[in-house]
Amino acid sequence: MSPTKSTGPIRVLIAKPGLDGHDRGAKVVARALRDAGMEVIYAGLRQTPEEIVDSAIEEDVRLIGLSILSGAHMALFPRVLALLKQKRASRIRVFAGGIIPDEDAKRLKKMGIRAIFGPGASLDEIVATARKLAGPVRS
């Protein structure tokens, strides 16, 4: 190991909780984050909150991005947050995208989802937010 302290790229887990099978959005976001120099662990479709949190811990990511179109966000997102807390991994921040009504988005943000992107969000905006959420590089 080199004598100088080094820090690596931001690691992000992108996952689709729940049962809808549309992962185009998740893949587009994954690519945008990769093109911004991040290491994106793509967990794919139909992930349970347990699987998502276990993967995030093993991969030691700084961020989890959840994509959902099924409407089950009010059941699944709080579960992810609760599991992170339960496993003492609340340092991992969660953002989300998909079809999420404003009303729900407000409540989810209160619960601890850091950012929520709707269908019109630009990739630049998502990348910038992810960077900001990843925060100063931890030691």
């Binding site: 990769r34 120099g37 290491e39 662990i41 479709l45 349970t48 093993e58 030691s139």
Partner: protein, 322 residues
Amino acid sequence: MSRRAASTPPVARRILQGDRQALARLITQVENRDPAALPAVRSLYPHSGKATVVGLTGPLGVGKSSLVNLLLGHLRRQGRSVGVVAVDPSSPFSGGSILGDRIRLERPPGDSDVFIRSMASRGHAGGVALATRETVRLLDAFGMDVVLVETVGSGQSDVEIHDVATTSVVVVVPHLGDEVQSLKAGLFEIADVFCVNKADLPGADAAARYLNEMTQLGGRNGGWRPAVVQTSTVGPKGIEELWTAVARHEAFLDSSGTRQELDRRRLTDEILGLVRERVDARLAEVFAREPELQSFLDRVVAREIDPHSVADRLVAEIRRSA
């Protein structure tokens, strides 16, 4: 390198007690070549050396991840704990990467006898090999019976799987004919086991026959003739045979005495790699810091002096400050 018996660092202790987060975070530090990892990495070293490390390599799209998934299931049914390290390339342009191997890896939720880690190659060959090796070793010390390492192999892979694995499996598919030719240069020599995957497709028998013929043409690794197995991930078929071939090679390593010899060779490479890493870092530091050298660089760019002269200066500078 002090020889005094330092007390075990807390991180190492937590890892030995089965703390997955501590392990995950230490792996990140190892990947980032962060010197903060050193005390724990050092104190965990004596706890390694027990795991069977199986490397799977081969061209893109031959089904390595699916095979890893099936092997994972097979080994779990035998009651063995399994670590997986899946290495994927980084983009040479952005430095980022998409690591997608987890999509294919299934396991019962909450199975604490499995630890899966995705790794990006990060573009600098030597350092990646070291980070992969150290990550495998951490999973070994963590208590995993088997560690499966998956890399894309073209023959000039940046992670030479052979440096990491105790048994190297080279995965091919039928009708890779021309590809197989090109593999001869690199992958042929490292294979302890050849796996013809997608054996449900026509041409698998011919491919296996061809590989069998090739393995008869000498180039034996210390007396071991590479095994050739056919597998199919639909069905699935041949997974048990694949593992049997790996186990046979592992038994051969012990009975022939080659295990120790290989270990010594790999550790020699590793030590040299670590020295190189330190020298590289020192070099970069000196080069960036020395204003005089920077002005020399300007003159090299202007073709007034040649690169060799500056190299001589650098070596002298490092000697002086060492």
